[in-house]
Amino acid sequence: MAPKAEWILRMDDRLVHGQVCVGWCEVLGIARLVLADDQIVGSDFERELYACCPGQDQRLDFMGLDELAQALTTPPAEATLAVIAGPREAMRLMELGAPVREILLGGLHDQPGARQVTDYLFVTPQQEEQLRHLLTQGVHLVGQPLPASPRIDVARLLG
């Protein structure tokens, strides 16, 4: 059965990679991915680089955050997994008026100054503040690295 034609928004600082293409899209039968990043959309080299990530039956579109914010206002023609790098990008989508209701947090990896929230979520004080801000705006943040992983309420994890 084809997956529902809806947006799935994922936050992952590795953007599009094996876990996204194989672990999510191949498992759920999602053929369309969107990588939304203002730097990458303007880089021929990086677009070429990420274009090698999707599997044979998948295709990857590149958007800036403004374009994704606009796209999110209408249901997609097919199930689409859109990836953004982190909480800063999510906040930008909200500023642009995107109707974001839920974001799946798939990976925010360790970096200087970050505290560990789960084995796949590490947040700096700034990122934590941004995530909490998203929560106050009514965004449901769900920790879920893979489709079969339990959905974890990130608000509860942040405390």
């Binding site: 600082d13 590795r14 953007l15 990679h17 094996g18 293409c21 080299f45 990086e46 680089l49 990420y50 090698c52 990530c53 999707p54 790098a85 925010l108 990896h109 360790d110 970096q111």
Partner: protein, 136 residues
């Protein structure tokens, strides 16, 4: 061919380290063959880790890069790190070859001192692919 073809496996988890450990069981321990894992590293963290390894390469050495899956974060980080290399070092860096498996790795270790790199790259592709059979 120079005896200083170093090799670096960049993989998910401990795949690279275990491939090297297994190769050492078969061929004996070898120098200048290392593994780097993407475990816990962000996109930039992995790129920085690869950059560190490239910058540590001795000036007279060449390096063959091997990664696990095409399009996965080790592959992408490798490409991004290579793009940031000065021309002088870039000419001594080869690959990455994706899909590293044991047959490919054993061939690379065995042949790196005797085979020019321009001949070895297609040989490794051939040996890696030839190692995948329906052997029933």
């Amino acid at each position: 061919m120079s005896a200083t073809l170093h090799m670096l496996l960049i993989t998910h988890g401990q795949l690279g380290a275990e491939l090297l450990r297994t190769a050492a069981l078969i061929l004996g321990p070898r120098e200048n063959v290392d593994a780097l894992s993407n475990d816990g590293l962000s996109r930039e963290g992995l790129i920085d880790a690869v950059l560190g390894r490239l910058e540590a390469l001795p000036e007279d050495a060449s390096l063959l890069l091997l990664v696990d899956a095409p399009g996965a974060s080790p592959h992408l980080a490798c490409r991004l790190a290579l793009a940031r290399q000065p021309l002088e070092r870039r000419e001594r860096l080869h690959g990455p070859i994706t899909g590293v498996n044991l047959p490919l790795l054993l061939t690379a270790i065995n042949r790196r001192e005797s085979t020019p790199v321009e001949d070895m790259l297609p040989l490794l592709l051939d040996r890696g692919r030839a190692g995948i059979l329906l052997a029933d």
